[in-house]
C-alpha cells in the first residue's frame, strides 16, 4: 500500500531512498519561506493601514487584513499535500446570500472559519516558520557540512586542514574521511528527524485548519451507515419473502379456483346459474391478473433468476414508450445492486411515459472499473429537474421551493436515490427545459459470478 503521509512512509522500509525525505525538506523549506513572506506582508499591510487610517482609506485595508488568513490557509492546504496526501477539509463555509463583493465580505467576516484561519496565519508568521527553518538547518545543513569535510580540506584547506562545523579542526585525511562518515550517519539521522518534524508540522496544520473531529460523532456515523445498510437489506429480504408467500399461497389458490370454476361452467346447464358462474370465473381471472402484476411490482422474478439485463429488457417490454436497451452485463452483480438499479430504471421509464412526452427512450450501460453505470435517456420535453429535485437530498442544500410538486413527481426518484446512496452509488439527473432528459446511475460493485464472454 502506498503510504498516505510522511509518518507512515517512515515506518516502511526504503524510506531513505523514497521521495518522502525530499518531500519533507520541501514541505519545511516552503513553510519557512511562506511564513517569512506572511510576516512581512502582515507587517507591511498593518503599518500602511494604521498610518492611512488617519485619512480613513486605511480602515478598509485593516479590514482586509482580517481576511489574510484565507489565502494563507489555502496555500497551507496545498502545501500540506507534500507531507500528507489525505484531504484536509476545513470548517464548513457559508455560501454568500447574493453575488458581489459586499455580501462575500460580510459572510466571510461573520463566520468562525475566517478567524481561525487568521489565527493560523499569525501563528505561522511568528512561531512556525522560524521552527521550520531551524529544523531544516539542523537536520540538513549540519550533516552536509560535516560530510563535506574532505572536500573542504582538498580545496579551502590546501590538503592541510579543515574546520568541521567551524568548531574543531581536522588535519589528517583519515580523520577528514572519518568526519565524512559521521556526516553520512548524521544525514540518515537528519532524514528521519526531518520526516518526524514534517509529520508533526502537517498534523498541527491539520488541527489548526481542519474541522474538529468528534470521535463519538464519527462512531455514530459509522453505526448509522451500517444500520442503514442493514435496513435496506432487511427491506429487500422482506420484499422477496412477500413475493414468495403470495406466489406460493394466494396465487396458487386463485389458479385452482379459476380452474374449478371453469370446470363447473362446463357442467352447468345454460341459465342463471351458468351466468353467475361465468361472472365468478371472470372475476377470479381478473383477480389473478391483478395479483400477478402486484407480485411483479414487488420483486420481479426475472431479476432474481436472470439478472439485471434481462429484467431491464422485461421492463422495457412493458413500457408504453418504445425503449432500446443496450446493456453490457455478461455476469451477475450483488442482489442489492441489481434490485436498486432495476427499480431506478423502472421509475425512470415510468416518468418517461408519464411526464416527458417522449416517443423514444434508451437504456444503456455496463460494468467497468468496478462500477455499474446506467444511463436512461429520452427525447422528451425535459424540465424533469423542476419536478424531481434529486439534488435536494444533498446535505446543506436548501429544501426545494415547491415541496408539493417534489413530493408528487420526485418522491419515487428521491427514495431510489436514497437506496442507491446506501450502496455508495449516485443518481444524477440532467433535464433542461426542452429536453432531452438523461438520468445516470452509478453504483460501485464487483461481479458475483465470473462474467462470461
Amino acid at each position: 500500500m502506498r503510504p498516505r503521509n510522511v509518518w507512515q512512509a517512515m515506518s516502511a522500509p526504503g524510506f531513505l531512498l523514497s521521495a518522502w525525505p525530499w518531500r519533507a525538506v520541501a514541505y519545511l523549506l516552503t513553510g519557512a519561506f511562506a511564513g517569512a513572506v506572511t510576516l512581512v506582508g502582515l507587517v507591511v499591510v498593518v503599518t500602511v493601514g494604521g498610518a492611512l487610517s488617519v485619512v480613513v482609506v486605511g480602515l478598509p485595508l485593516l479590514v482586509l487584513t482580517a481576511l489574510a488568513g484565507l489565502p494563507v490557509a489555502r496555500l497551507e492546504r496545498l502545501r500540506l499535500r507534500l507531507a500528507d496526501r489525505a484531504p484536509a477539509p476545513g470548517l464548513p463555509r457559508r455560501q454568500p446570500t447574493a453575488y458581489g463583493p459586499w455580501p462575500w465580505l460580510t459572510t466571510r467576516l461573520r463566520e468562525p472559519a475566517s478567524w481561525r484561519d487568521l489565527g493560523h496565519a499569525l501563528l505561522l508568521a511568528t512561531v512556525l516558520w522560524p521552527l521550520d527553518a531551524l529544523v531544516v538547518t539542523a537536520a540538513l545543513a549540519l550533516p552536509l557540512a560535516t560530510l563535506a569535510t574532505p572536500l573542504l580540506m582538498a580545496t579551502v584547506g590546501d590538503g592541510e586542514e579543515a574546520k568541521v562545523l567551524k568548531q574543531w579542526t581536522v588535519t589528517t585525511w583519515p580523520t577528514a574521511f572519518g568526519a565524512a562518515v559521521l556526516g553520512l550517519l548524521l544525514l540518515v539521522l537528519g532524514a528521519y528527524a526531518l520526516g518526524l518534524a514534517a509529520g508533526a508540522r502537517a498534523a498541527l496544520t491539520r488541527v489548526l485548519l481542519g474541522a474538529p473531529r468528534d470521535a463519538t460523532l464519527d462512531a455514530r456515523v459509522v453505526e448509522l451507515t451500517r444500520s442503514r445498510v442493514r435496513l435496506v437489506d432487511a427491506f429487500e429480504a422482506e420484499r422477496r419473502r412477500i413475493e414468495r408467500d403470495l406466489h406460493d399461497g394466494a396465487q396458487q389458490r386463485l389458479v385452482a379456483l379459476t380452474m374449478t370454476l371453469g370446470l363447473a361452467r362446463l357442467d352447468a346447464p345454460p341459465g342463471p346459474l351458468a351466468d353467475q358462474l361465468a361472472k365468478a370465473h371472470g372475476e377470479a381471472g381478473r383477480a389473478l391478473e391483478e395479483l400477478r402484476e402486484l407480485i411483479h411490482g414487488i420483486h420481479p422474478k426475472v431479476l432474481a433468476d436472470h439478472g439485471l439485463a434481462a429484467a431491464v429488457e422485461d421492463a422495457a417490454d412493458r413500457s408504453a414508450v418504445p425503449v432500446d436497451v443496450r446493456l453490457e452485463l455478461p455476469g451477475r452483480l450483488p442482489r442489492a445492486v441489481e434490485a436498486a438499479a432495476y427499480f431506478v430504471v423502472c421509475e425512470a421509464l415510468a416518468n418517461v411515459a408519464k411526464h416527458s412526452g417522449a416517443d423514444r427512450a434508451k437504456v444503456t450501460g455496463g460494468h467497468r472499473d468496478g462500477r455499474l453505470r446506467l444511463q436512461i435517456r429520452d427525447n422528451g420535453r425535459g424540465g424533469a429537474e423542476d419536478r424531481a429535485r434529486v439534488g435536494a437530498a444533498e446535505p446543506g442544500a436548501e429544501p426545494g421551493a415547491d415541496v408539493d410538486a417534489e413530493a408528487r413527481a420526485g418522491s419515487g426518484l428521491t427514495g431510489l436515490a436514497d437506496r442507491v446512496s446506501v450502496l455508495d452509488g449516485r443518481i444524477s439527473l440532467s433535464s433542461p427545459p426542452g429536453g432531452p432528459t438523461l438520468l445516470r446511475v452509478e453504483i460501485p460493485c464487483e461481479w458475483t459470478t465470473e462474467p462470461f464472454a
Binding site: 406466489h247 389458479v255 380452474m259 370446470l263 381471472g285 400477478r292 422474478k301 433468476d305 429488457e313 412493458r318
Partner: protein
C-alpha cells in the same frame, strides 16, 4: 365435451398439490390420462424416462431452489429427446423464458402459457393438444408485450401483418386466424406469405417456416 379424440398420456410436474390434483382431474375430464404427477424437476426427468409420455406439462418454478428448475428440466428433456412435446406453465410473463424454450429443439411441440390460462379450461386443453401435435403455443400476454417493442425486422410488417403474426405465434391455424380477424382464409394465407417474405425466411415446409417466423418475432 371432447376437444380432441386422442387420449394423451401426460406427465405433470407441479409442486403445489392443490394444482397438481386440479390439473389431473381437469385433464381426466377431457379424457386425457396423467400417467405420472411429480413435485420436482428431478422426478420429472425420471418420470419421462419411465413413461415416455405424449406430452409433458411442467411448472417453471419448482423445488429445491424455486427458481426456474422446471424450465431447465424441460429444455434438458428436449435436448435428450428431440421432439418431445412440452407445455411450460409460468406464473408470470417472461420473454426470455419463452425464447429459451422455443430455441430448444427446432421450436416445434412447445408451449409457454401463463398459469392463469388453465382457468380457461377448454382453451388450455386445446393448447395442450396443439403442443402434443407438434404445434407452437405462446401465451397471448407474451405476444402482447412483444408487439409493443416494434423493432426490426418486425418494423417492416404492416399493422395487419403483425396482428396475423401475433395470432400465429399463439399457435392458431390459418382458419382460426381468419375467423378471429373476420377475413377469408385466403387473405390470411396471403398475409402469412408476405410476412414470411419480409422476414427473409427460406422457402421450406410451411409449418417449419411458421415456427421460424414466431421465433423471429420472439427474438426481436
Amino acid at each position: 365435451m371432447r376437444v380432441d379424440d386422442r387420449t394423451l398420456r401426460v406427465v405433470l410436474a407441479e409442486d403445489s398439490v392443490l394444482l397438481r390434483d386440479g390439473l389431473t382431474s381437469l385433464l381426466a375430464r377431457f379424457g386425457h390420462e396423467v400417467v405420472a404427477s411429480v413435485g420436482d424437476a428431478e422426478a420429472l426427468v425420471a418420470a419421462v424416462a419411465e413413461h415416455a409420455p405424449d406430452v409433458v406439462v411442467t411448472d417453471v418454478r419448482m423445488p429445491p431452489g424455486f427458481q426456474d428448475e422446471g424450465l431447465r428440466a424441460a429444455v434438458g428433456l428436449r435436448e435428450r429427446r428431440p421432439g418431445l412435446p412440452v407445455l411450460v406453465l409460468s406464473q408470470y410473463v417472461q420473454r426470455s423464458y419463452a425464447a429459451e424454450l422455443l430455441d430448444s429443439g427446432d421450436g416445434t411441440g412447445v408451449g409457454y402459457l401463463l398459469k392463469d390460462r388453465v382457468g380457461q379450461v377448454e382453451e388450455f386443453v386445446e393448447a395442450l393438444a396443439e403442443v402434443a401435435d407438434g404445434g407452437t403455443v405462446v401465451d397471448p400476454e407474451v405476444v402482447r408485450q412483444l408487439l409493443r417493442r416494434r423493432r426490426d425486422p418486425l418494423a417492416r410488417l404492416s399493422p395487419r401483418e403483425r396482428e396475423v403474426l401475433a395470432l400465429v405465434a399463439e399457435g392458431r391455424s390459418n382458419g382460426a386466424v381468419a375467423r378471429q380477424l373476420v377475413v377469408s382464409e385466403a387473405a390470411v394465407g396471403k398475409h402469412i406469405g408476405s410476412i414470411l417474405a419480409k422476414l427473409d425466411l427460406p422457402p421450406a415446409d410451411d409449418t417449419h417456416r411458421r415456427v421460424l417466423a414466431v421465433l423471429a418475432f420472439l427474438r426481436a
